[in-house]
Every structure is written in structure tokens, then in C-alpha cells.
């Protein structure tokens, strides 16, 4: 961020946009041995709170649930940036990082709201269809809440930035967009007959719908 001030964006709207659009995030923390650990997980945002989903069975989540300082990053790569010179290659991307300590959610209403938000984050519409968690589900699952107050975003957009004297090179330059698209939904082999494909599932080849 010091090196690329044009990529720094502390605008809260951008932070929210990235957290909402990125399907997954990575959460990192420092364990008892002083080693940094990372795990991918699914996030969801409700207002100023970021919820993270973890397994109660996973030992790793215990430090996080125990209030360790954590760092969460979500990244969306929009385009590959192909410059005329190899050092000028880059990505057009949006990333958001949130620092803080996780609080284990225990209140039933907050748990349900977070579970629905995480389900909605994956695919809007699904949260009203899927069966709500029962007591067994709650025992196995951990939901952490983090305030989004220490956070920043980085964004790069636009064409490659080659030096003027490199523009004469006989090399193609530009950007190549990347998109996350869906394939054909496949019913589970044990799906009961007579249950139609829900309307909120996107068509094959469409971009994954986001909030």
C-alpha cells in the first residue's frame, strides 16, 4: 500500500463489496508455537459484522474462537494484466482485509441470522429453502463474529502500465477478463423424485449470482 497508493482504497463501500462478492476468504492467525496458520472458509457480512464459519471439530478453529488476533482476506481477480515486459505484469483485482479478534456467536437468534447470511452469501435465495439447523447442527458448527472496523481494500483496474520506451516493443499488451461461471446443476443421486430444480439456481454458463 505504501508502494502503490493508487491501489489503496479505504472506502467502506469497497470493503463491503469485496466481502460480499468473494465466495471465500482466507483466515490467518498465530498459533501457540508462534507459527502463522491459514484456512479457507466462507464468510458473510451483516452490516458492520463479518461472520465466519468453522467446524467445531477442527482443532485449528479453537485458537480463533478463543479470541486470537486474526486477519481475514478476500480477493477477487477480475483481469489478468499482460504488459509488454515481464515485470509490469499484474492483476486487476479487488481485495479486502479485516483485522481483529473473533467472538464466538452463542446467542440463538444471532446464530440463525448468521447461518442464513452465510447460506445467502453462497447463493441468494437458498436461505429460505434449506432446512434450518437443529440442535445437533449447532453443536458441530462454530460461527465467529468480527467487527469490520479495522479493514482496508486494494483495487487495481485498467490497462498495463508499461514505461513509455517499452510501448514500441512488438508485443501484444492488454487485459484478459476472468469470470466465475456455473455449470449445469446436478441433482444428488438420493434426491427424492418430484422435487423441481429451484428458480434461484442460475442457468449453465451464467455468472454466479451475488448479493
Amino acid at each position: 500500500m505504501h508502494r502503490h497508493p493508487e491501489r489503496a482504497d479505504y472506502d467502506r463501500a469497497t470493503i463491503d463489496e469485496v466481502l460480499d462478492e468473494a465466495l471465500l476468504c482466507t483466515v490467518s492467525w498465530v498459533d501457540e508455537q508462534g507459527r502463522v496458520r491459514s484456512l479457507p472458509t466462507i464468510q458473510a457480512r451483516i452490516g458492520d459484522t463479518l461472520y465466519l464459519h468453522g467446524s467445531r471439530g477442527a482443532r485449528a478453529w479453537k485458537s480463533v474462537a478463543g479470541g486470537a488476533e486474526v486477519c481475514v482476506v478476500a480477493t477477487i481477480v477480475d483481469e489478468i494484466v499482460l504488459a509488454r515486459t515481464s515485470p509490469a505484469h499484474s492483476m486487476n483485482y479487488r481485495s479486502a482485509v479485516v483485522f481483529g479478534r473473533g467472538r464466538e456467536v452463542t446467542d440463538h437468534d444471532e446464530l440463525l441470522a448468521a447461518a442464513k447470511a452465510i447460506t445467502r452469501h453462497v447463493l441468494p435465495g437458498r436461505e429460505d429453502d434449506a432446512a434450518e439447523p437443529d440442535d445437533d447442527d449447532w453443536r458441530q458448527t462454530l460461527i465467529l463474529a468480527m467487527p469490520i472496523d479495522e479493514a482496508s481494500a486494494k483495487v487495481r483496474t485498467g490497462p498495463p502500465k508499461d514505461d513509455v520506451h517499452d510501448l514500441e516493443l512488438d508485443v501484444w499488451a492488454g487485459t484478459l477478463p476472468l469470470r466465475l461461471v456455473t455449470g449445469a446443476p446436478t441433482p444428488a443421486p438420493d434426491l427424492r423424485s418430484g422435487i423441481p430444480m429451484p428458480d434461484y439456481l442460475p442457468e449453465c454458463g451464467e455468472e454466479l449470482p451475488r448479493l
Partner: protein
């Protein structure tokens, strides 16, 4: 979401203990992922985390940073790091909210970074990073000058310790949930490219190379 949501096996394994098939799977995941999340222990003892670009050469993983930036300063000192890559292959829709999960492949490499200082190695890594982003690109793009080599930092970590997980298939639900009146199945996901956008400053008569128009990740997929 399920207890099997993207929470990889937390057991860290030593790569040399893995079988050939598992090592190849780890390599393939690292190669296919276009970016990684690099975490390290900050000077204050707290975690830091950034997205960056990586490339693998044999059993060494390289990550890229700017020499002028403060981000890799700590990493260069050899503090513990973790490099995580995750590829999402699909969403598993279970009938019950908490049994939802992802089909995904993830590798997390643990170790300590070493700065690359050897000139020949730096040049090889530049090519590897450029080809990681777009296979074939390094033979087209101009190689870095001495000044550019000085402006870039590469940190390498040996692929010794990692945790990896491949999650695939359909949701697994307890029998009592199978009777629920809710659709269940898998929605596959993949990353595709759009139409290339030429640099507005592109000289006329330079054609878009085939490795851009036919871009596939992984190559040949």
C-alpha cells in the same frame, strides 16, 4: 453450512512423506491457482495476510513482492509464513442448511521464506511467474533489466510442509434429512475468460497471441 465446509484437514504433513500421486496433486493445485494468500507473523506478533502471485519450480514455491514495499520486509527476515491457495469447483446444496458445503481443492504451504538473490535464479523466477499468469508469455514479454530485477523481491519457500484437501462429490446427509422437501445437488463452478481487451496504447498490427485467445487454466483443460 456443513462441518465439512472449506476447513481443510488441519494436520500439517511433510511433503516428502507423501506418495507420488499426492505430491502431483499438490503441485497441480498450486499451478492452477492464479494467486495465493500469503500470511506471515508481523513484527508485533500478529498475523498479516495479502494476496499475491506465486509460481512453482519443482519443489520450491516463489512469491512475488515489490522491493520498495514494506509488505515483504518481515517475510524476508525468515519469519513463519503460510501460503494458501483455494480452487472452488462447485457448491454442494444439501437439504439442511448446515450440511451445505463446497467442492474445492486447497493447499496450504508452511515454512519460512528466503529472499532470492542469485541473478540467474531471479531471471528463472521472473519467467516462471510470467508463465504462471499466462503460460507461454515469458518468451514474448521483455525480460527484466538490472534495475527492474532490483525493484522486485522474490521470496522462496521449500515445499516441505503443507496441508492439502480435495473435497468433491455430493452432499452427505443423515437419513432423516433425505425426506425433506428441498432440492439437493451440486452446482459446478469454473473460471472462464472473457474477450481480451487490448491496451489502448497497443501498436496497430500486433495480433492477439493464441495463448491469450485460447487461454485455459490449467492449460489444455
Amino acid at each position: 453450512m456443513s462441518t465439512d465446509a472449506p476447513t481443510p484437514r488441519t494436520r500439517v504433513r511433510r511433503l516428502p512423506e507423501l506418495g507420488v500421486y499426492e505430491r502431483e496433486a499438490v503441485h497441480a493445485i498450486l499451478d492452477e491457482a492464479i494467486y495465493c494468500h500469503l500470511a506471515w507473523v508481523g513484527a508485533d506478533g500478529d498475523p498479516r495476510l495479502i494476496p499475491t502471485i506465486h509460481a512453482r519450480i519443482d519443489d520450491t514455491l516463489y512469491v512475488h513482492g515489490s522491493a520498495a514495499s514494506s509488505t515483504l520486509r518481515q517475510v524476508k527476515l525468515g519469519v513463519p509464513i503460510a501460503i494458501a491457495v483455494t480452487l472452488v469447483d462447485g457448491i454442494r446444496f444439501a437439504r439442511s442448511m448446515f450440511e451445505h458445503s463446497m467442492n474445492y481443492r486447497t493447499v496450504i504451504v508452511y515454512g519460512r521464506g528466503v529472499e532470492v538473490t542469485d541473478r540467474h535464479e531471479l531471471e528463472r523466477v521472473f519467467d516462471a511467474i510470467t508463465d504462471h499468469v499466462a503460460p507461454g508469455r515469458s518468451s514474448d514479454a521483455r525480460s527484466p533489466s538490472d534495475a527492474e530485477l532490483r525493484q522486485t523481491t522474490f521470496v522462496k519457500v521449500a515445499l516441505d510442509e503443507c496441508s492439502a484437501k480435495i473435497s468433491e462429490g455430493f452432499p452427505e446427509e443423515p437419513d432423516e434429512d433425505l425426506a425433506l422437501d428441498v432440492w439437493a445437488g451440486v452446482l459446478p463452478l469454473r473460471t472462464v475468460t472473457g474477450e481480451p481487451i487490448a491496451d489502448p496504447l497497443l501498436r496497430p498490427s500486433i495480433e492477439t497471441p493464441s495463448y491469450v485467445t485460447d487461454y485455459r487454466r490449467p492449460p489444455g483443460s
